[in-house]
Symmetry: D2
């Protein structure tokens, strides 16, 4: 059973904007770096085509609170924690910590709720139960880590 | 006094992902299309270097709820509404409507809080009062539009 | 028969980088704005699933020469011209002109070669002839425009 | 003296498009991952503000030839080689190799020419000589590697 994953990225030039800091939309791309690493760590891909029918994970809610800016070449740790697990959805908390500098500081905090879906014959997507063998490997993080 | 702005975009190929829909991070870029259009409509740029000292508008909170996917070449209206106005911050609500199809439908709803800052001599940013001549042109949208 | 298309964009904040100018990779996204507008203008989408089998248009070569920077809120015209038409490939020339300012100036020039493909049963892509009804609507631009 | 650098990335979901492959514009962002790693490896940042006056490195020419697609979660090595060194410009060759699979294969090949500039008092940029201490650390790669 797993409830967390840490990914580290270095801020790229193309991720900055003319204000000299990481564009706020990129934090949502950083979240996926940790989420997809978490899936891989468990032996899965977020593109789950090994199941019959195949399932996917569209996002239904995303949020981020920005405390301090990230700049070019900063090293950022994205610490993902499972905050909720329901039959068809998962929610994650993300703590962004800047690693360079004297001591790591939390620069942003985000959250994401994703839903497990299958594609219907007409091409539309419908929510479905998370495949049991995958769900069985995931648990909600301890409350003190989610504070 | 103004409290809203509508921008229209057509979904680009590069904004889609392998799931065949707009990547969720792009809704945050779409929000800025409407916000910056709002600023321009009032005669300003979000890069406010005509003031002394110059002010900028970093984001402190961003959120989006996704109801239906957007696909390549969909036409989307981003309807921005001022939801809160404080001495140093502004908050907006965004309603995303897909215009193509039989009737417009709301596919997502987002929000953004931005803070007015100046750059200190040491390069750090500090919150400051919104310049009066700009603040005087903005008001909060009627409650029924924010529902 | 058509050989050109002009699209206009306004530079977005998220397209700039910390150097204060449009990140060079975005010119390749701008090229597609014009290319896909050209396809739509002819009554098609670059996602050509009305043909049997469906065809797609992956890029095989892309190039851009940068002369002057584009900045936030600049208005840029992307002038696309068909420069070559073969049985399975199309090549385009792109002239980027900044429209704001005293007179339009060419700030960059690019090119793109795309190939018409179908998906094989094993998921791989194979080059195929451009569908005749689409090819019949396209011609190479006059030499003086390609200079 | 150094003439090459290798960076490795894993393809992210947000870098794919609805065709299921990496959007072609992202190869130009991948090039910078290797280039900036090369600079860091030599003890510099591409944001060279330690020199008086500070210098920057805008791109004047970029090119890429695409041979095979990259897909989500592929591991790609970006092998950068210095292909030309002039007083004010540097040119690089980039070989993109997909590392997963039975044996590494070259999926794309690109090139970039960048120019060393300083900012003039009026805000415009002017080409300038590459700072000697930095130039002295760089040499052109052997011809056989550039083939």
């Amino acid at each position: 059973m797993a409830y967390e994953f840490k990914a580290v990225r270095r801020v790229e030039f193309s991720e900055t904007d003319m204000a000299g800091i990481v564009h706020y939309s990129n934090f949502f791309r950083y979240m996926e770096t940790a989420e997809h690493g978490f899936f891989r760590h468990l032996g899965y891909s977020v593109v789950m085509d090994q199941f019959e029918p195949a399932v996917g994970w569209p996002r239904v809610h995303a949020e981020c609170e920005y405390r301090q800016p990230l700049r070019f070449e900063d090293e950022v740790e994205i610490h993902m924690l499972v905050s909720e697990k329901k039959s068809k959805t998962l929610s994650y908390l993300f703590k962004f910590r800047k690693l360079n500098g004297s001591s790591p500081i939390e620069v942003a905090r985000g959250s994401l709720t994703v839903v497990c879906v299958t594609k219907l014959p007409d091409g539309k997507m419908a929510a479905t139960s998370i495949p049991k063998e995958f769900a069985d490997k995931i648990e909600v993080a301890p409350a003190e880590l989610l504070a």
